[in-house]
């Protein structure tokens, strides 16, 4: 025992390392060591574990502290986003692990909420949660996060995940009635696609107050006593709102491209010598350029220029941007190709762009399924026919 103590003393040099206790009734002195940050082996130890840590749980960086409530400790979250949050946002926007970017459903809070503080309901997609909490800098409120399987408010409502039953379940499960005196929930307006206000009221006794579309208006909405003006009620689709969607549009492409690439080079190599690798490369490169132009036209230019392209059907919007991008490709290779090949390159850019722009309908907040289906019934046969013509003409042109 004495040896052990001495050893420890030796390890942590300095007087503060050991504090002697009284020698009582002839027993060996007991040394109670206070922790030291001095380095004896390896690097300096990190801070002591937080009192909120629990075995089997992970404490999240955005939780400031836990406050006591009638239902037990409730996490108070920060209203300032940090580096980790921004990095998470960027990766979700790039389509990286977007499906797993979620937080635990349940009750959270900001500020110092009490029995009369408002209850804001949101989805458990981390991006939705961050968008809300960063707007709550000067508010005392409860945040009820419902389990939308990590999907944003509007999409989850459309998929019946952010739905009446889930809101009712969360209200009951979180024992909200013990936390607040009023019986009112503020839901984001876009959840209305999945949540029926009168059924929520019937099933759990809470009245639904439809909040604004955008979290940035929530403070003003509450200040005005729960009144939203027209602009708070309408969705927008600004240039920036469209630009942030582009990376996800592009993130869908590597897989089909992986299958298209070998086909492009294979078909481009067929000619009078049966197959030539050098031709495959030189002609394949042109097709690849047209393909890239199509992507640029349909997944980048069409979304950005959306309201300014003077046609309504997305397939047509994409066709126009595709033609523009295709003309640029033809201009680059002009001296090396015959007119049929020029037309094929233009056609490829046009078809790819038209198809991708048509698929952008799913990312916009204003296309109706009836409309999308109508334009698809017309566009897809034409796109397929154009692709087939391009294929035949491209191989045929090699036998000129």
């Amino acid at each position: 025992m004495g040896d052990l103590i001495r050893q420890k003393k030796g390890c942590c040099s300095g007087d503060d390392c050991s504090s002697s206790s009284e020698v009582q009734s002839g027993l060996e002195p007991l040394f109670v060591e206070t922790p030291s940050d001095e380095v004896c082996c390896g690097s300096a130890p990190g801070p002591q574990s937080s009192p909120y840590e629990k075995p089997g749980y992970k404490l999240l960086h955005f939780v400031e502290v836990f406050i006591d409530t009638p239902i037990g400790p409730v996490p108070r979250v920060k209203t300032q986003l940090e580096r980790t949050d921004f990095l998470g946002t960027i990766s979700a926007r790039l389509g990286i692990q977007r499906d797993q970017y979620e937080i635990a459903p349940g009750l959270y809070c900001v500020g110092n909420p009490g029995q009369d503080s408002p209850v804001l309901v949101t989805a458990n997609y981390k991006l939705s949660f961050d968008t809300l909490r960063r707007e709550l800098t000067s508010l005392d409120a409860w945040i009820l996060v419902v389990d939308t399987r990590g999907i944003n408010v509007w999409c989850a409502a459309g998929k019946a995940l952010f739905c009446t039953r889930e809101v009712v379940r969360c209200v009951n499960h979180s024992m909200l009635k013990k936390v607040v005196r009023h019986h009112q929930l503020i839901l984001p307006q876009l959840a209305a696609t999945g949540v029926s206000a009168h059924r929520v009221k019937k099933e759990c006794g809470f009245t639904v107050l439809w909040g604004p579309v955008r979290a940035k208006d929530i403070q003003l909405f509450i200040d005005r006593g729960g009144k939203a003006d027209k602009s708070m009620r309408r969705v927008t689709f600004s240039v920036w709102e469209r630009i942030v969607l582009i990376p996800v549009e592009l993130s869908h492409l590597p897989k089909p491209t992986f299958w298209l690439l070998p086909a492009i080079f294979l078909l481009s190599g067929i000619g009078t010598n049966f197959f030539s690798f050098s031709t495959a490369f030189s002609r394949g490169l042109m097709v690849l350029a047209a393909y890239a132009a199509g992507i640029l036209g349909g997944a980048v230019a069409a979304p950005v220029l959306l309201p300014w392209i003077p046609v309504r059907a997305f397939a047509l919007k994409g066709m126009l941007t595709g033609i523009a991008a295709g003309i640029a490709v033809v201009a680059i290779f002009y001296s090396r190709i015959i007119w049929v090949e020029a037309l094929v390159l233009l056609l490829i850019a046009m078809v790819i762009s038209s198809y991708l722009a048509m698929n952008f309908t799913g990312s916009t907040p204003f296309t109706s399924p009836s409309g999308v289906e109508k334009e698809m019934r017309r566009a897809i046969p034409l796109q397929a026919a154009a692709a087939l013509i391009a294929l035949v003409a491209w191989v045929g042109a090699a036998f000129k």
Partner: protein, 96 residues
């Protein structure tokens, strides 16, 4: 959203004015201000603004509003054509 108009004359939206009790819920939840309250009843003010999200019908206490709701997403619709409505999923194609 006046800048953003999609195909006209396609929406499945229908309002039964007789059944309307004038609660104005549809006006509150519509993200394209399709409805407007006039004389204590809801009226469809901008039918081609409708994107068939279904929020109005979902929140009409007297079922005065009918619409076939859905996702206006081409890749989702392609999936319903290929695999049928039941097994088509948005998460598979990540349209939104």
């Amino acid at each position: 959203m006046e800048n953003f108009r999609y195909l006209p004359g396609v929406t499945t939206l229908k309002l039964d004015t007789e059944a309307c009790v004038g609660c104005s819920m549809c006006e509150s939840v519509c993200p394209h201000t399709v409805f407007q309250m006039k004389g204590g009843k809801a009226e469809i003010e901008d039918i081609d603004g409708c994107m068939e999200c279904g929020a109005c019908a979902q929140n009409c206490p007297t079922s005065a509003i009918r619409v076939t709701p859905g996702v206006g997403c081409a890749s989702y619709i392609i999936q319903t054509w290929i695999r049928g409505k039941k097994s088509a999923s948005c998460s598979g194609v990540k349209c939104c």
